[in-house]
């Protein structure tokens, strides 16, 4: 199995959480003996190459962060540039449709936060003339960028097993992929605990990180009221 992998994040590769997740996905794919080629939508110089390869690969995996409940504007802009003739040919020839799968990740942790975006991705595959191969849905990824080493590994490590499944199946239809999302919403006791952490430890953590980044204003600053 060979897959065209598109990192649909608008964030440059160096800082892309999606890219760090893909490092694990592709490591898992390699364990399954699958091969891949990966491109970044954030780098417009790669767009011609992605367009060239788009309808020539049997498997396409678009990995993306959730941006305001759906796909990022930059990814839409790229998809708008796909060759209309090739798309029409793919739509007409249902026997040879590429299998398009997605990896949808977000900062918010609960599965319910990503369902609206996931629903669109299923429609999108069809509109692009592809067979839908499912979406691997997972939240709680905001801090990948903020961490390195073991801390980052704790968040991204589990994706490798999902990559192995994708390399084997060329899709995310396996029950293990559905379970990978975790809870749709957190039970009340967990919400109370996490809510307290948000007001204390997390708040301090964000303030410390902001200081590291050179921030000199309060994080709840209201610049346009001044």
């Amino acid at each position: 199995m060979h897959a065209l992998i598109i990192n649909g994040s608008p964030r440059v590769k160096k800082y892309s959480n999606t890219d760090k997740i893909l490092l694990k996905i592709t490591a898992g794919m390699e364990e399954s003996g699958a091969t891949y080629e990966q491109y970044e939508v954030s780098d417009r110089s790669q767009w011609p190459k992605i367009r060239e390869r788009f309808y020539l690969c049997d498997h396409i995996l678009i990995a993306l962060p959730l941006y305001v409940e759906c796909i990022p504007g930059l990814l839409i802009e790229f998809l708008e540039t796909l060759d209309a003739e090739r798309k029409a040919a793919a739509l007409e020839n249902s026997a040879k449709r590429p299998v398009m799968s997605f990896l949808l990740q977000s900062g918010f942790a609960e599965g319910v936060q990503l369902r609206c975006g996931e629903a669109y991705l299923e429609m999108l595959a069809d509109r692009l003339g592809c067979e839908y191969g499912g979406t691997l849905v997972k939240g709680d990824n905001f801090s990948i960028r903020l961490f390195e080493g073991e801390q980052r590994e704790k968040i991204t490590g589990a994706y490798q097993a999902m990559g192995k499944i994708y390399g084997r199946d060329g899709a995310f239809r396996d029950e293990a992929c559905r379970k990978f999302t975790g809870p749709e919403v957190f039970p009340l006791p967990v919400r109370l605990l996490v809510g307290t952490i948000f007001k204390t430890l997390a708040k301090k953590g964000f303030k410390d990180k902001a200081k590291e980044w050179g921030c000199t204003r309060p994080l709840d600053d209201k610049p346009y009221l001044q």
């Binding site: 504007g73 839409i76 319910v112 509109r127 980044w213």
Partner: protein, 169 residues
């Protein structure tokens, strides 16, 4: 204040809206023709949360829109469509809204949300030109409004703009 942002090149719809709003005695509205404005996509740098709170790192025409948003009671976006959804120009208006929320988090109901930066945010309505999945857009707009702690005013194809006007007040 009703803020209407038109990301399409079609100004006939905003002419109609202007006339209809004036006709029903509305005076507190502003229409921004954004099709020709320089508005980038969001690059996800998180600077508006962690480095320059409330201020986007991209210096383009969007900042003026953001300043208007914090005074608006209603935000209406007129967008073209692509692949059954908003086109990239329309979606960019929403993606760039992140400076209106802070990095801080809380639970609202049973879901995590960002703590709002300003006391007031606008309810959100959508008018779209071209083919799209209306039911999906309605679902999406409800969720999009949640991002700024408000509610959806509805989703209308351009040919039903008069229905949208009924919701503008």
């Amino acid at each position: 204040m009703i803020l209407i942002i038109n990301t399409t090149a079609d100004t006939s719809i905003t002419s109609d809206l202007r006339e209809a709003l004036a006709g029903k005695g509305a005076t507190d509205f502003e229409i921004v023709e954004a099709a020709g404005m320089k508005i980038s996509h969001c690059v996800g740098c998180n600077f508006c949360w962690l480095k320059t709170p409330g201020i986007c790192s991209i210096k383009d025409d969007y900042e003026e829109i953001l300043k208007k948003m914090i005074t608006a009671d209603q935000l209406w976006v007129i967008s073209g469509t692509s692949l059954g959804f908003l086109d990239h120009k329309g979606k960019n208006i929403f993606d760039r809204i992140m400076p209106l929320v802070t990095m801080y988090l809380k639970f609202k109901g049973n879901q995590m949300r960002h703590v709002m930066r300003y006391k007031k945010n606008a309810d959100v309505g959508l008018i779209y030109e071209g083919e799209a999945d209306r039911a999906y857009l309605e679902r999406w707009n409800e969720r999009a409004a949640l991002n700024i702690g408000t509610k959806s005013l509805g989703v209308f194809p351009a040919e039903e703009w008069k229905e949208a006007v009924l919701c503008m007040h």
